[in-house]
Amino acid sequence: MRKISIGWPTILVATLGFQATAAADKRQVRYVNIHPVAKSDGGGMCQIEGPHVHVYEADKLQYRDHHGANFFVGDPVAYGYDGPKKSYKGHHPIHVHAVVGTPEPDVEFCYLDGAHFHAFAPPPGPEFQVAGDAHFYVAEPPPVYLEARPAFIGINAIYTPIVYTRPRVIVEPPVGWIGIRAGFGGGVHVGGPGVVVATPGVFVKGPKVKVKGSIGVGIYVPPPPSINVNIGVGIGVGGGYKVKGGKRGRR
């Protein structure tokens, strides 16, 4: 029988390599403010508001970087959060620095479609209007909102299958709401510069024009004469914007 010999360096490298991998699997990941707990760690919501660490990763759609820590921008109620909360509708900025209490401004965008919750209120000012107890973003979004949208809009696919009670928003959106403005959240089809169609339930398509950053900004869609929300069935508002109320699994 042939004798197999293994060199010391081989054993040493293999052993230390295994240890390094095991340690790498458990590296600390920084978080700030409340966020969902990984299922592997029991699920639910982590309620630590200050900076802290866990040994599980944060995904790239529901978190934004805030000075090296992961800040959760999703809907905490979807994960069982039952603390104080505010209703929002459509996309909007989040003043992360105001939420976590850091001095340098850090504004991120939430790309959740439709009505949803956050655990924080927006700062007072003209960029939000409250209607039906929900916050609507009515200011001019910065170019970065559109630039980052393709990277983050996928967050909605995470929430679509989650069954939880979303806020019921039964009001007409205020004038200037991002959800009914061409090129932003409303999915309004624009036939060309200056052509705007936003009648509830009616889609009018012109030649396919892709609305991008600088073109989209400045095209304003006046509020439709009436918008029906919270009917329990999907209603297209301004084109492809579905609003439902009550408990449901799909938006």
């Binding site: 052993t15 600390q28 760690d41 802290h52």
Partner: protein
Amino acid sequence: MKATWIILGVLAGVPACGKDEPAATGEPGSTTAKAGEMSDAKKSLVEAWKKAGLTPSEMTGSTAFGKDCNAATVNKVDVVVCEFPSDDEAKKAEQPGLDWVGSTTGAAWVSGPLVIAVADRKKADVNGKTINQLMKSTPK
């Protein structure tokens, strides 16, 4: 061949000294030179926690990540409080505090010359309520 097994045995023991595990001196109840001593700053901190409804166990001496530390548990969460000569030195010790936390949920923060590090090694605070209370009730 005998030597091979001896070396493999030694290598197998290496993880026990790795970064994943907290230093033995950081564990509550470990022995230190300053056992039983509590500065006014530490006493105020413990009082603030008690006022917030938390019930820390007896603070025992520790050298978890500093020379002047005390360790306890609060609702089964490991807590170490280390005092430094200045606020600046305390700020610099925040990272060693996180290193002490190791591979588990935890936090380290500064309160004047104190650094507080907490680690949920027993997974007794999955939702972080105790850690959040400790943080929020710490005097600024």
